[in-house]
Symmetry: C2
Subunit: 384 residues, 2 copies
């Protein structure tokens, strides 16, 4: 792949955004990204709109969002890979740019989720699992991930306290992130005493549905150097798939093959090893997911993910700080926006602009996204 | 863009396919494409699943389809641009290949539409228009295109008979296509006497909702030459956007800016002019659309589209045969599959395998797709 860089990022406030429609959320992030890149809209050649389907009435949202951003008649289309949509959007934009079809592409991750009642959301989330063989039996997202949690507990002795540590850590960082949905730190007891959702996952083990948008301005090497003093380079792009149905997967449910496979691809492309990662954003859809991700990404050996937390290795000052923007657990999880949000955080980190959450001297960042119940895995490596 | 070619195509039977689920339809086309390319599934590096949303229960279908095709753990994601989804899929695959992220990609266009009651389908189609400003006022797809029809009638004197000629021509060719939904020719009177849907569009002026799939195997130049005796080259790729809301568009509704803009891009990239096109597949979602497309693609001057029909110039033996596989009007319109279906037809034409519908010596083919009510326009030029 040719040289591709991110030259601007933008982020809306995440949360219950009854003040903004889908298109307005997208605009909020887009305008911020243009401002960050110090370019005008006319410099953009195309947009990719990354949004999971069904959460709001607008079908094929690229049409209305491209219009609202003032980008007609420039090309646009929708890229969707469930929770990994806008990470896959960055990969797709990188390909469009590297192939020379475009020079500069805006990747817009956006989701409006809070208008639907929670029961409807849960049913929709189940339908991002296999609707023929699994979701009719009640496999909502918490239920799916709970099976991974109990398998990990059974095989490795991981405890509910271990999982709760993820939420406590991420909520503490969320308190420093003005765009996060939840900005109040919580205690281990708060997590352990919160109401059960799907054993062993309790309310504070789960990320929340949210409205929000994040935008990445992606450019080829030449334009990036010309337009930006601090381009952040797309160094590694891994994407992998697993069977949608858990029944179709091999082995115990203690790791995500998609994460391992996507990480291998991304590490090889970026020519780095896990220990070279200075700062990481991983997909903490549930607290247990972050523990599995440590292992799948090679930050810890299998079964040793929880130990990293106890040793404070994934906090600021630790070996590999993870989700120092609060992660999905504190920021909320507006599905289509999450991948771009993670990547926007890494861009700020690598540019040394992350303020109270800055990882000293961060030069290599890794973002990892799991789509749905692990049928997609996307790993992105960025470098200064 | 680097050299990219189509080395295999596959097509399911289109129609009411109560015998096949979404994944089975996809497999039907994929298996046929592998057979056509004379390769095995292991040769494929990634799949793109192109499907409009909401028509069946499965969300994020790439997950389940990639699994069903036996492609795990290879990358997959969903590409969506309403009726242009799989044409945009070919463009995206071309970029992924040209950027060297993949060598060989399967583009799978698929849709399962006939399980929903028609009222629900119409409401969904409206929601591929602007849900804030237009669809709540009753703008279903026939209503949208009817406005284009009356504008063209008013400005240029186009008649209901002119439109009916499109349906008669395409249904005649559909009778030669075993994959078409409708294989019975019809007469001008049949169209004119069919029941009114949205003035001036009558039942036989409209394409039908359908189930179906089409698949394209796309490869880089080197692999294409190695694996295929008759690669068909992707020579031009144009994609453009218009405001989703008609109210946001300029000028009278007598042409689609997206088609004109996408055609300009594709012609320039392929270094051809409209008169160089030997055979074309255009988006006849309604009879009027085909007439507008003639003009927007430069096959006829503005207002002169209907004359091409009267002069038989878009039939076999004419200047530019159009939709000689039956078009959407005879084949049916399984939204996500249509773009790939058009392109599959062109591949057969360029390889000289189109049997009773063969255009003598076809070397240059053009496919044109309109997404939704014209917010996306995609034009593809293929060469021998």
């Amino acid at each position: 792949m040719g040289k591709v860089a991110i030259i601007g990022v933008g982020h809306s406030k995440f949360g219950k955004r009854s003040d903004a429609s889908l298109r307005e959320l997208a605009f909020e992030a887009y305008r911020a990204a243009l401002g960050d890149a110090e370019i005008e809209s006319k410099t953009i050649d195309a947009s990719l709109v990354c949004s999971a389907t069904h959460y709001d009435k607008q079908r094929s949202p690229a049409g209305v969002i491209n219009e609202y951003l003032g980008l007609n008649p420039k090309p646009t289309f929708n890229v969707e890979a469930a929770c990994a949509s806008s990470a896959v959007g960055l990969r797709t934009a990188s390909a469009l740019i590297s192939s020379k079809l475009h020079d500069i592409v805006a990747v817009v991750g956006v989701q409006k989720m809070t208008e639907l009642p929670n029961e409807e959301i849960q049913e929709l989330m189940g339908r991002a699992g296999d609707v023929m063989w699994e979701s009719p039996f009640g496999t909502t997202m918490p239920a799916y991930y709970a099976m991974y949690a109990t398998a990990h507990m059974s095989r490795y002795g991981t405890t509910e306290e271990d999982m709760a540590r993820v939420s406590v850590k991420n909520r503490a960082y969320g308190a420093k992130n003005p765009d996060a949905m939840f900005q109040k730190p919580i205690l281990l007891e708060d997590v352990l005493n919160s109401r059960m959702v799907s054993y062993p996952l309790k309310l504070f083990d789960c990320c929340a549905n949210a409205d929000g948008a994040a935008c990445l301005i992606v450019a080829n090497g030449e334009k990036a150097r010309k337009l930006s003093d601090s381009p952040v380079w797309v160094a590694g792009l891994g994407l992998a798939s697993s069977p949608m149905s858990l029944a179709g997967r091999n082995g115990p449910l203690t790791s995500f093959e998609v994460s391992k496979k996507a990480a291998r691809t991304a590490y090889a492309m970026a020519r780095i090893r896990p220990e070279d990662v200075d700062v990481a954003e991983v997909h903490d859809s549930f607290s247990i997911t972050e523990i599995l991700n440590y292992e799948d990404l090679g930050f810890a050996k299998p079964g040793r993910g929880a130990k990293l937390l106890k040793d404070h290795e994934t906090e600021l000052g630790g070996k590999t700080p993870v989700n120092v923007d609060g992660g999905l657990i504190a920021k909320g999880h507006p599905v289509g926006a999450t991948g771009a949000s993670q990547i926007a955080t890494l861009v700020h980190q690598i540019r040394g602009e992350a303020g109270k959450s800055q990882v000293d001297g961060a030069k290599v960042g890794l973002a990892q996204n799991i789509g749905g119940i692990g049928m997609y895995g996307c790993v992105t490596v960025l470098k200064a």
